[in-house]
């Protein structure tokens, strides 16, 4: 049986040149499906990597007790109370590792199109490099507190004009000087500017921290930290681990992008299947005589059928590779922007694997009916027809 399959398949493949047009049809249809599927899903994977790449389960985001969706606005006086809770990590000098953030929007002009975009000045404090190890300067120097100085993210420099060291950012009637640039492991924060949290709050007249993150001794300390936090009646606050917080905030958005990708590629797959059916029926039609001869000299119907499916797969797989390659060359690592978040699109091995599963399914659905038709070629009739 196996020998038969190999023999028939190799006969098929030797004559494939005479059906080059039809093979091309399958190849291009599959390449189109795979290319579109990967390009659309690369958006979600890229965003997910940018968001969760720097997230740590050992960090807790402080949220409101009633509405858990957004970070809580935390007053200055609440922070020392939070710092005393069990499980909070401390640095060598005994300071609690608590990241306090302020945030203020500024206008930025996109390179190329000249569109206005709203980006963030994020106020950060001195524990940032210790809490987020991916954060470090790549040029210039750190901002100083109490003066209006900023450092700019790597992606913001790529995406917007006027983001070089020495440039000034004008907002609320005052100028901020850019003194350095930073990277943060590809996080979406790289699409904005960082300044000193207290300076940003006083300049923007914000009384409370916009977000507070607490570094815990380990991820395992989260339950006791959260329990102590919620048990404190003076705080009215709750906490979520950073990965959980990101998931709650963006999970439905990921799902939306996924659905768009699956929907569009799914419709295209129906088209590819009908193209594959057409091509393989034609191939079987063309080889009717040959198949009848094979059957007459003793090859089984199953071997013939399986060889047709294999041929479909062997033509579809190079198409899938082509589609994946084009998607990879065009979009892997290319910048995308959604809701003000800038990130690199990413085509990962997992995505490529998914695309190959799609290819196999398309080949099977498109190749099986012609394969069955091939197995059913009436030997005597086909031979007599010549």
């Amino acid at each position: 049986m196996f020998k038969q399959i190999v023999a028939v398949t190799s006969i098929n493949l030797r004559s494939i040149r005479s059906r080059a047009g039809m093979s091309l049809v399958i190849m291009i249809s599959v390449a189109a499906v795979v290319g579109v599927l990967l390009s659309l899903l690369a958006l979600r994977v890229g965003l997910e990597q940018a968001i969760s790449g720097v997230a740590s389960p050992a960090r807790a985001v402080i949220v409101d007790t009633n509405s858990g969706a957004n970070p809580a606005s935390v007053t200055l006086s609440q922070v020392p109370t939070i710092a005393d809770l069990p499980g909070v990590a401390h640095d060598a000098r005994g300071n609690a590792l608590i990241n306090t953030f302020a945030s203020a929007p500024v206008d930025a002009t996109r390179k190329g199109s000249g569109d206005l975009a709203n980006i963030q000045i994020l106020g950060i404090n001195s524990v940032m490099p210790e809490v987020v190890p991916q954060f470090h300067l790549i040029a210039g120097r750190m901002f100083r507190p109490a003066v209006r100085e900023l450092i700019v993210g790597k992606l913001a420099q790529i995406q917007y004009v006027g983001m070089n060291i020495g440039d000034r950012i004008h907002t609320r009637g005052v100028d901020w000087l850019i003194v350095g640039s930073f990277e943060e492991g590809g996080s979406t924060d790289e699409g904005g500017l960082d300044g000193d949290v207290n300076t940003v709050m006083s300049e923007m007249k914000q009384p409370n921290y916009a977000e507070v993150q607490v570094q815990l001794q380990s991820a395992g300390d989260f339950p006791r930290f959260e329990k102590a936090l919620t048990a404190n009646p003076s705080l009215q606050l709750d906490a979520k681990s950073e990965p959980q917080f990101n998931q709650d905030e963006l999970g439905s958005f990921y799902k939306l992008i996924d659905r768009i990708g699956y929907f569009v590629a799914g419709i295209m797959a129906v088209g590819a299947i009908s193209a594959a059916l057409n091509a393989m029926y034609a191939a079987v039609e063309q080889r009717k005589m040959e198949i009848a001869t094979l059957r007459a000299i003793g090859f089984g119907g199953a071997a013939v059928a399986i060889s047709v499916v294999i041929e479909t797969l062997l033509v579809a797989l190079p198409g899938a590779c082509l589609g994946a390659l084009i998607a990879y060359l065009c979009y892997n690592n290319s910048l995308a922007e959604t809701y003000g978040m800038i990130f690199h699109m990413a085509i990962t091995p997992g995505l490529v694997g998914l695309a190959f599963i799609w290819t196999v399914v398309i080949s099977l659905v498109g190749g099986l009916p012609p394969a069955i038709a091939a197995a059913r070629v009436p030997v005597a009739v086909a031979l007599r027809a010549s």
Binding site: A32, V36, L40, N66, G173, M268, S274, Y281, G340
Partner: protein, 382 residues
Amino acid sequence: MKYFPLIWSGLWRKKGRTVLNLISILVAFALFGVLQGMTSLFGQSGSDLKADRMIVVNRAGGLLPISYVDRIANLPHVRSVNFRNLFVGVYQHPPQFAVGFGVDPRRFFLATPEYHAAPQAIADLVRERQGALVSVQLMQKYGWKIGDRIALKNLRDTASGDGKGNWNFDIAGTFTISGNQPGLGPFVFNNDYYDQGRVANKGTVSTIDITTDNANLAAPIANSIDALFANSPYETRTQPAYATVQDALKQLGDVDYIAHAVLGVVFFALLVSVGTVMMRGVRDRTPELAVLKTIGFTDRAVALMLIAEILLLTVVGAGLGISITYGLMPPILKTINLNFGGLPAAVLLEACLVAAVFALAVGLWPARRAMRLEIVAAIGGN
């Protein structure tokens, strides 16, 4: 027309082949309808708002003091001023959302002519402190009736109302919205009632809408408003009302680019697949075409017949595909809370154009081949 039976039988010479081609074409046009329909829906959202309508928001993305309303009203060329307080409510449980605006009812319906409410309904709302006027679509969605008391949870301010974000409104009437406004439509209620039930942010509003007396002066008026509040704790940004709608949609990403790229790929693949199959069909039919020529059909007539065949197939496929769009769009749009009001004429026209160009592109090669066919060689060759 008298050749129609001939074209028809040519098309159905190989049933399976034609049906599969039809499916490919149908699928491509269904996708065309969905993607182009979405982008045109996004592109035209708010485009029926006139240039004399502008919207003032907090530059830093927060609220504005209600005192700004009167200060803006005193500026030259400002014809009317109106404010809104956004209320994002959940009915019973998420995701049953109901969006409302806290307004000064008389002012609101005067300044927003696309909202149509009976004068009696507006008067009722003014009288009933806890009243609300609800858009007809929103009424239908949740099965509300005039006179119902509805309970909503305020998502944006969970300390307001009863202290836990719960609010009651009595439905005093309905209104309709004209023009191409996607979505369920909001409900409107008395801002006085709302403001009293707030703990934080008393005396603030979400947006201030203005109408100018001269659309050509929109830019200088916007500048003078923003200059008035520059360097205050609540700086403003004033922009045309349609710009805010389109900006919000642009945030999602370059929808136009994605749609066009996908459709480009789809139609390229379709061209290759249908073209190849058609070419093969003509090759199979070489003797028949030669016979046609023998009995007196001109080269051009044979070629035209093949093109007509492909055109017919494409038109039927495109027609079916676009009708599928009409079935697909409502559920898709429902997930983002938009209503489907049919594809715009421009998209339908575009589909016709694409179908014509596609049929020509696919048909040209087979037609050329058929035209150049030498009778003797074609019949003799077989």
